[in-house]
């Protein structure tokens, strides 16, 4: 076993010019991608005594990864001690806001006292570059061999079974009993090897994000925060993403603020460009003051799979499993945007299943099927199923939800709180009329309420 190659605690960066050590047949499992899902799988397997090789195409884990974002840590916390992790802030406030393109904002904000207490509802802002590298280092400390700057280019087959990977390194074939495909949303290897189909355009969202540098006090004052408290603001409506279906976000880091939009590729293809969408969101009167004076320190972009439970591919194959975004495990329900917890949970269950199968000297799909079963019973698949209807429902109701409702709310608020010499009663009636009219009368409002009832159930 070529474990000497891994210097304790250090991440290995093989010199591009020299030959890579021979990893062929030296490991029990090869993990493709050192993101959240891959690292969780690698760590779990190493703890169960397996020899694991994790391959990452970037110069370090995290260098290729982008998210909003709020990291959800219920499973990570079971795997590693997150007290030492590079967390930015815990989420003390969630705020949901609906923006019209006329500059109106209607928001609901929540700051339950319980979120201030450890472990802060397991929700923290992080920056992926720092977090992913730290997380991968925990796997290396547990015995995983990490090799960066190495792109997996395909899978090796014997008959139908996957028996290893090919890489872009000289002599880059690596045979191993099991391959974990943790390559994220752009899953070239899984697709190339027919383990899954490329998602359809209407099941994928594009996102663009910017990080603005602001000093800590400014962030604390603007968002009414203290200590390590942070805020997660989510935005909907035409003022957030224009004619598209999607949303915007503003998250506070320690000394920076992450701002971005996520919406269907379909809408971008129809002509609403990501840049213009981000520009409009950042200049909305409800958003602009939050980032005013901030220096742009990074622009980034990434796709998000949004196909939900229906788009999930087969998770196990002879000699291979698919985890995280590569398996489409992202929940985007409007209220929730979660993929980090699902990536880690799937990596964990996959790792456990592989260790159990290899203990019986097996790596066929049937032996690995415990992964599918366990994930099926976890919150991951349950949540994806529960919210499967959501994307379709909002797309069908876009005009109402994104254009009519934000305006009607603003008109109703203006009416309800109007200061003049008319009675409050009359204002209330007029305010109600605005809302009911936008919803298509009482009957329309009742139908809509029924359609969206599951959002909160």
């Amino acid at each position: 076993m070529s474990h000497e190659a891994t210097t304790a605690g250090g991440l290995q960066r093989p010199d591009l010019q020299t030959e890579t050590p021979n990893y062929d047949d030296a490991f029990d499992a090869v993990v493709v991608g050192a993101g959240l899902a891959g690292t969780a799988a690698a760590l779990t397997m190493a703890r169960d005594g397996l020899d694991v090789l994790m391959l990452e195409r970037g110069p370090a884990p995290g260098t290729k990864n982008v998210f909003g974002g709020v990291l959800y840590t219920p499973t990570i916390r079971e795997l590693v001690d997150i007290d030492d992790a590079p967390l930015e802030r815990y989420i003390a406030e969630k705020r949901f806001s609906i923006l019209s393109s006329d500059g109106d904002e209607t928001a609901i904000s929540m700051r339950p006292g319980a979120w201030r207490d450890d472990p802060h509802n397991d929700s923290y802002t992080v920056l992926r570059r720092r977090f992913d590298e730290w997380f991968a280092k925990q796997a290396v400390d547990a015995g995983v061999t990490l090799v960066t700057e190495t792109t997996v280019t395909g899978l090796l087959r014997d008959g139908g079974a996957v028996v290893g990977v090919t890489t872009d390194r000289p002599d880059g074939e690596i045979h191993a009993p099991v391959v974990v495909l943790a390559e994220g949303a752009n899953s070239l290897v899984s697709e190339g090897a027919d383990l899954k189909e490329r998602p359809e355009r209407d099941a994928v969202a594009v996102s663009v994000k910017e990080v603005f540098k602001l000093d800590r006090d400014t962030i604390d004052d603007r968002f009414r925060l203290d200590g390590d408290a942070g805020a997660a603001y989510q935005y909907f409506g035409e003022g957030a993403v224009g004619e598209a279906v999607g949303g915007g976000f503003v998250y506070t880091n320690k000394r920076s603020v992450s701002v971005g939009v996520v919406y269907r590729v379909e809408d971008a293809a129809a002509g609403q460009t990501p840049e213009a969408t981000l520009d409009a969101f950042e200049s909305h009167p409800a958003v602009a003051p939050l980032i005013r004076g901030g220096r742009r320190i990074e622009y980034s972009a990434h796709v998000v799979p949004e196909g939900g439970a229906r788009a999930m591919p087969d998770l196990v194959h002879d000699g291979a499993v698919v985890v995280g975004d590569a398996a489409g495990l992202v929940l985007n329900s409007g209220v929730h945007l979660e993929g980090t917890n699902m990536a880690v949970e799937s990596g964990y269950h996959a790792g456990k299943a592989i260790a159990a199968a290899l203990a019986d000297d097996r790596s066929d799909a049937e032996a690995l099927a415990a992964y599918t079963r366990d994930l099926d019973q976890s919150f991951v698949v349950e949540n994806l199923r529960h919210y499967d209807w959501f994307q379709r429902t909002i797309a069908a109701d876009r005009q109402f939800l994104f254009e009519d409702l934000p305006r009607a709310l603003a008109s109703a608020e203006t009416e309800y709180f109007k200061m003049d010499r008319t009675s409050k009663d009359e204002h209330t009636g007029a305010a109600r009329d605005h809302l009911v009219a936008a919803a298509g009368g009482w009957f329309g409002a009742a139908k809509r309420a029924w359609r969206f009832r599951r959002m909160l159930s």
């Binding site: 110069p59 393109s101 293809a269």
Partner: protein, 103 residues
């Protein structure tokens, strides 16, 4: 009601891309499968979905996009954006391409 007043100073794509760190892989990891399909394509979705202005089609040219691969954020959107599945999309060679500092 007044329309949204931009409070954020105008920013160009060049300003934005200037914040991004890259390692040049020396050769393009992007391409088109079949230039004839692009020549016949009138919608040029690749140009509108890309957040980094990598794809441009010269209105007076042959209709085949030129590709500024060195600006690519490796987001993957153009893979899905092209309705004819005509985008050739691979990863930059050995660790090349975008290197996010924040993510």
């Amino acid at each position: 009601m007044s329309t949204a007043q931009p409070h954020v100073p105008d920013v160009s794509i060049e300003d934005r891309l200037y914040t991004v760190k890259y390692r040049d892989a020396g050769e393009s990891h992007l391409g088109v499968e079949n230039p004839d399909v692009c020549a016949d394509c009138t919608t040029n979705e690749c140009t509108s979905v890309c957040p980094a202005a990598v794809w441009t089609v010269d209105p007076d040219g042959d209709g085949v996009p030129s590709i500024a691969y060195e600006n690519c954020l490796e987001c993957g959107t153009c893979r899905y954006g092209c309705p004819y599945d005509n985008v050739e999309w691979t990863y930059p060679k050995t660790g090349g391409g975008v290197v996010f500092k924040q993510g």
